[in-house]
């Protein structure tokens, strides 16, 4: 990946110019669909954008220096990590990454959640700390199956290059691995039934409780970008479909991402919040089970060869 291409990916597609409006669109779609399924009217489609503008125009609250630096810096780090992760996605065939970009992507996907944990503790609010603790407990529970599934995919494709993995021929590994990644989406996006860490009404809004103004605006944007990255990752890995025409690729990518948002909204509207232990147990049992199936399927051919 040359410098120019990297900048193009970061700033235009699938980076900033695509991701930020898409993030707002996804946030709106989820809210609107959830509202409609609950019989409410829901917000107009420009609402997330207006929310962002309103928050950015507010004066930040004065805090002691360390807190202020952490509370301003962490959401910014989360937003940048989301953008960089997006730039690494192999959406268009021509944008071939570099060796090891899978590891980098996984690392950047994890940054917003890590920032949320740190922010929860940095805010010194009891609700922020409860939310941060829950996020930390859950991130251990869902990351093990998530990473196992990614490892299984990488192992079966014999590559740490995202583009290679996405373009690898269909195999039995892909189905359980992508299913595991899909299973991890609700908890990574903190929607029902796994909305334990930001638990609206229960602990206000978890790690973001003490945040307001531009800082909160950045959190909202980071959350929107998480939606774009994670649905994008699931689409890239689950449907390695390249038509050759970049515009068509883009349309398929964006369309399928939105379809995933619709499905996730159904899950969010149709379920109630679990407890931390229940959510963690779910991922250790079902997520891990599915991921292990993928891993075994990925390793089996190698063992066969080894036995022979």
């Amino acid at each position: 990946m040359s410098w120019e291409k990297a900048f193009l990916a970061l700033l235009i597609f699938p980076g900033m110019l695509y991701a930020v409006p898409m993030a707002w669109l996804m946030l709106w779609l989820e809210r609107k669909l959830r509202a409609r399924m609950q019989g409410r009217m829901g917000p107009p489609f420009y609402q997330p954008f207006f929310d962002f503008v309103k928050l950015m125009a507010k004066r930040p609250i004065l805090r002691p220096r360390t807190d202020a630096v952490l509370m301003t810096g962490l959401p910014l780090v989360a937003v940048s990590a989301g953008l960089v992760a997006l730039a690494l996605l192999p959406v268009v065939q021509a944008s071939k990454g570099f060796a090891g970009d899978l590891v980098l992507l996984v690392a950047f996907i994890e940054v917003p959640s890590l920032c949320a944990v740190l922010a929860g503790f940095a805010s010194r609010s009891i609700f922020g700390q409860v939310g941060a603790t829950r996020e930390a407990v859950l991130s251990v529970a869902y990351n093990v199956p998530f990473l196992t599934a990614i490892v299984a995919l990488a192992y079966s494709a014999h590559s740490l290059l995202l583009a290679d993995i996405a373009a690898a021929p269909a195999s039995w590994v892909r189905a359980p691995a992508v299913a595991t990644i899909l299973l991890c989406l609700p908890v990574k996006l903190r929607i029902n039934p796994f909305s334990v860490s930001n638990a609206e009404q229960e602990i206000y809004s978890g790690p973001a409780t003490e945040f307001g103004g531009p800082q909160l605006g950045m959190w909202e944007l980071a959350h929107g970008l998480e939606w774009v990255v994670l649905t994008g990752l699931a689409v890239c890995l689950g449907l390695p479909f390249h038509t050759g025409a970049p515009i068509l690729d883009f349309a398929v990518f964006a369309g399928l991402s939105l379809v995933l948002v619709v499905l996730l909204s159904f899950v969010a509207a149709g379920t109630a919040r679990l407890k931390v232990a229940q959510a963690a147990r779910f991922y250790w049992r079902w997520g891990m089970g599915l991921a292990l199936v993928a891993l075994i399927l990925a390793i089996l051919p190698g063992i066969e060869r080894f036995v022979r």
């Binding site: 669909l33 509202a35 409609r36 399924m37 609950q38 019989g39 409410r40 009217m41 829901g42 159904f266 509207a269 149709g270 379920t271």
Partner: protein, 177 residues
Amino acid sequence: MSIFPVLIKNLRTKPVTLRLPDEAPHPKDFRGPVKIEVEKCIGCGMCAYVCVSYAVRVTENENSCEWQYLPGRCTFCGRCAAVCPGRALRMEGGSVPAYLSAGELDETHRVPYPACPECGRPSRPGAEHILMRAYSELTEKVRENIFLCQRCRLRRSQKDLWATAGRSSHPRGESPA
């Protein structure tokens, strides 16, 4: 899993919530913003006195008083309308409309003090139905007194008193003990 048919049904049917300018019909005795009928107001200031949120204010001037209402502060408790002796205040049915800038809905009304028929000085406006509570029936004399200013009313009743005193030996009764 029986929740999903419910979700689909909700998606198909119209939402139960309304957009901001639309409103659900209010119940019959809903207490909305306070409205004043200036011609019934007697400028007593009771409404401002009982208002807990300082939403109703009455400022007295030389020949009128200003009745001010700030819906943004109002708690719609209805005390002002309940205590108004002139029945000039009432609570409107609907709710306060949405507004953009602070103080947009504030209203001020001027309650003029009519001139006293005797001396010409401005006097508090009177209302017959208030006097009906004090006197079961209104005699011609009482009716005349309503529109006098306080000084002229006092002077007239003094004159009446002296006239009665002149007729009997004691102003209070027939024979002192």
